[in-house]
Every structure is written in C-alpha cells, then in structure tokens.
Subunit: 335 residues, 2 copies
Amino acid sequence: MLSNRQENILKFIVEEYIKSAKPISSHQICDSLDCSSATIRNEMVYLEELKLLEKNHFASGRIPSEKGYKYYVENLMQPKHMTGEDMLKLQTIFHNNTLDLNDTIKKSIELVSEITNYTTVVLGNGAKDNRLKKVEIVPLEDNKILTMVITDKGFVEHKNLYLPKNVSTEEVKKTVDLINKLVVGTPLDEISEKLEYSVKPIIGKYVRQHELIYNTFYDAFSEITNKENDVHFVGRSNFLKQPEFSDVEKIKEIFSKFEDVNCIREIAEDKNGINVYVGSDSELSDEVSVVKTHYNIDGEEGTIAIIGPKRMEYDRVVSLLDYIKSNIGGDHEEE
Amino acid sequence: MLSNRQENILKFIVEEYIKSAKPISSHQICDSLDCSSATIRNEMVYLEELKLLEKNHFASGRIPSEKGYKYYVENLMQPKHMTGEDMLKLQTIFHNNTLDLNDTIKKSIELVSEITNYTTVVLGNGAKDNRLKKVEIVPLEDNKILTMVITDKGFVEHKNLYLPKNVSTEEVKKTVDLINKLVVGTPLDEISEKLEYSVKPIIGKYVRQHELIYNTFYDAFSEITNKENDVHFVGRSNFLKQPEFSDVEKIKEIFSKFEDVNCIREIAEDKNGINVYVGSDSELSDEVSVVKTHYNIDGEEGTIAIIGPKRMEYDRVVSLLDYIKSNIGGDHEEE
DNA sequence: TTTAGCACTTCCATTATATGACTGCTAAAT
DNA sequence: ATTTAGCAGTCATATAATGGAAGTGCTAAA
C-alpha cells in the first residue's frame, strides 16, 4: 500500500515523463510536494523496490516502469476534460447525417490521430457472423459479369467474372438463382460447406462450365468471410515523431507488426469499457501501449484502438475514446 | 560522348554501389578493367566533371549521381533474366483463374515487394470515367437500407442508410427508380450536376424526407467519383531495411509522403512502356526512385509502380515489371 | 597513354578529459 | 521518528586529441 505522498510522487513522475520524455530527478519534484529532494529520494528508493519506478543508470532520474504506468492508469489518473476545440471538431463529424456508422468512426479516428499524434485503428467485426442476404449479377459489356455477394448486415463483396466465349450469361444466372434459392440465410462461415453438398451437385448437371462459375462464387464467399479490408489504420508514421523511437531498429520492429494484418487483427476484443494495455500487455510490442474499446451499435460491432508509446497521454486518450464511444451510433435513433 | 572504358567504369560503379551501398574506389575497379588504379582515377575525374559521379568528401570513393543513374538506366543497363523461382511464383498467380484482374495485380505486386524488398503500389484508374450502370437498394433489418451505386465497368460503392421512423422504404424506392430512369449512362463526373437539375426538383415534390435520401445518394456518388480505396500499397516498411535510410529524419520524410494519398495518387501516369524516374524526377522525394508502367486491359486502366531507394536494382525491377505487364489480363482471352 | 609513387585530405574509431546531473548515504536538525 | 543538508560517488555526454585507414590528386617516369 502506498502512502499519499508516494502516490503523488509516482503521479508526478508519470505525468512529467509523459510530457518531457526525460528521466525525472528528485529536485524537479520537491517544489510541488513541499519537501526536500532528499525526502523524495528516500521515497523513490521505496517505489523502486516495488518496481514501480526504474533508473536508466546509477545516477539518472527515475522513469516509470510498466507496472508504474499500470498503477497510474488504474489508481491515479484523473479524467482529462476535453478542449472545446477538440469537441467541436468531433461534433461536426457526429452531426453529419449522410455518414453511415463506419464512415463516422473512420473520420473520428482520423481526427484523433491528427490531434494526438498517435496511431489509430478501427477493426470492424468483419462479416464472419453475417448471413447471406442474396447473390446478384450485373452483366456488363462484352463477356464481363459483375458478381455480388450481399449479407444481411449490409456487407458487399464484388468480383468481376470473365466468361469464356462458349458460356452464356444464362448459365451464370442459373447458378445465381440456385444459390439464392438454396443458401440464402446461411451464416457465412457455413456457406462453403453448404455450397459443396447442396449447390455443386446440382449445377454440375445443369450448368455448362460450372467449374469456373462455381469457383468464382466460392472464392467470393471465402473472401467476404475473412474480409481483410475491414481494418482502417491511420497515422502509422506518427510513431516516428516520438523521441523514444529515434532508433530505426525500434521503428522496424513496430512497423513490421503494423504490416502484418494478422497481428493487427488480434487487437480486436470484446470487452466492456475503455481498456488500457501497457507494454507487454498490448501483445503488439513491449514498447507500445494500446487503449481500446469495443462497440456494438445495432449489431454492427468492432474495436476502436489508439496505439502510442508507453509514454502516452493516457488521460487524454481515454477521454477522447470515451467521448467517441458515447456519441457514435446514437444519431439516427434520435431524429 | 563517353568512351567505352568510361562507360564500363560508370557501369561498374553503379552496379557495385547498388550492391554494397558503399563508395567505390579506383582500386576496386582496376582488376575487372585490366588497367591501373591511376588510370581509373583519371577517368573518374572526367566522369565527375560531367556530373555523372559524385564524392562524399575529398578522399572518398565515388558514388553515382542522379544523372549517373539515369545514364546507366538509359544506356548501360542490360535486361536481367529472371530466376526460375521468381517466374514460377508469378505464374501460379497468373494461372489462378478465379482471380479477377485487380486481384491478380495485387497478388503480383505483393510478391514483388516480398522478393525485392522494395515498396510497391497499384493505382487503379478509379471510377472517374465510368458511367452509371444502375442504383440499387436492398432493405435490411429494421430501418436500415443498403444502397448501392454500380458503374458500367463494375465498380460498386455501398452505403448504409438509416431511415427515420416516419419514412418508408417506398420513398427510397421511388428515388432509386427515378435515378435509374433519369441518369443511368451518365459519366460519373457529370452525375452531381444532373442530379441537381433533373432529379432533385422532382423528388422534392413526391418523396417525403427527400433531403436525407437525396443527400445519401449524392454522397455515395461523390465518393465513388473520387474513389480513394483504389490504391493498393505494399511493403512501406521495406524502406527501413535500406542502409541509406538508417536516419529517422529521412524515413519521416518518405513516410509522410506515403501517408498522403494525394501524393501517392500523383504516381499514376499514362505512358507507354516501363518508365524509370530517378530521385527528383520521381516527384516523391529526391531520395527515391520509381519504376512504373501503365496498363489498360479491356478498358480497366491503372499504374503499377515499384518504389525503392535510388540505389535500386533497376535491371531486376524493370524485368519483373515487364514480365508482370505482359502476363496480366491475357488469361481470360485465351481459354 | 599509362603507371608508379608519394603527399595530402578526410573519415573513423579510440582514448582522454572535463563537466554536469543525480543518487545514496550519513549525520545533524526538527 | 522524520526530514533535511551536505558530500562523495557514479554515470552520461560533450569536446578535443590522436593515430590509423582509405582513397584521391598530382607529378614524373615508363
């Protein structure tokens, strides 16, 4: 259990280090706590024993450890009131009613990335738990046909199909009708299976060149099921602005994670509230922190995350995310 | 005009510098050219006078100047035959006939980025010169409606519309029918105008809540017109692997360009053949080169570009791009 | 024309040195 | 029992000095 003064010291160090990125000395603290630097030093020794603080070398000031950041976030951090300017900017996004939910969220995080200089990402839940609404084709010029897969939640995947000369659009139409008759309403992750045993045997008999047509739809379905595009990632290069990433090796590590979609996907989570993951808890890299939240608006789900250095303005970021979360999606209900 | 020997020296320096990233000394050259280092030095002075070579400091070896690279690319470079392995990997992409043109190109450049460690980008021509094929709606659960704009070349833009309680799907249907009747076939960049003077006045009379509905379509049209998503950008972080970018400031410059979509869009061009832009010619940064080509397969147009340091393996990259260009899009014709 | 040889320039890694910033500890003060 | 002043000790950082190493430019001879 920490004393009041110990907590104040820890709070001071965390907040000051977040601002300056430089180790904090006992002298910097004593003014605001009204005691001498020696007293602070004694307390710092204790905080270091608890592994809440660290030193770079023998005679350096202290910096917060991962545990120290966590203690700060959980016990010491106070919500930071947002500036009027930031609120105003966000409000103009929320009140634009031609934006649908996805666009609203995207615009919001783009703004957040810009004003905070952190990296932001939205991970839509994808279409994996959607059901097939319908399949459709639109014949275009020549032998080109636009094929579309539409889900009940409004996802659309399209693909161009180039018909060989000896196959008519009618054959594709037959396939589409069959799919619409047999598999509409099926959850996407069960579609492949259902196609194989209920559709394939039939079109094998009635449709010429069924292989190509069937495969096209089969592929469109698997693509929409693992839909990757549902990751909106903004402000990656903001990391370059942070002094702790002035070393190219560190940047390399972070960026290679950023380029790995699977790695980014793991950011998604389904938990209540705003959650803060510091360093190794972030699962991305020991050097970054992630603040994220899950949303579910009328069945459209996803995760919004803000990624920054461990030395991140947690109070500000949490407030921003909280504000965004409580404002998205409410709009079309009220009017 | 350069003598034969001078050209050989320039070629040697460019190729060796591309490999090693270190300035090339006269001693390194004399073995392969069968003369003494002093002779080489005399020639190097001449090449430097012509601004084909540069020095970092008085007693450093020579490195190619921008002009030197250009001379190399235009006069000295020999096409590099591709390895069987690279060809094989590309062939498996080309021969997968469930991939449509866009997917084929994307997969190809992903592979190129991986094997060369450069950055690659495909810029589709977007939908700006397309014409409206049709507009469609699919009512989903509750008051949610999926709206789709489809163009004659197979572009699809969709958007969810949340209907206020007092507006029925019928009203949207009326709007859609009207748009389909009046503006189908119009080039996208003229659509806004046509909507304003031919559709808006009519729905103003017959459709309730026409403002919201009209605006949704209006927005969908402007989005598809400036479609941004048509940029597929791979391997940005490969730049971090290049020794000349071990300085964070340089990385910052490049990456801020990479994050600026408008900047990336300018890479698009409509020229024959494979074109090489070195340094300042690249319009991206003095520190990078761009090798790009334009494609037009049955009206689907775009640009494929490979971005790397000036010290780029031009011969290899040009061969790769050439191979890709001559293989994409041919497939569905032949079978 | 080419080459050998040498003086010269610049970079780079190493070492030495001084300085400044802090801490830890001890002993005195409260 | 706390708190504080003071001082010795430790480490980083900046600067300068030093001695190669690498490689050129020039000159004079081949």
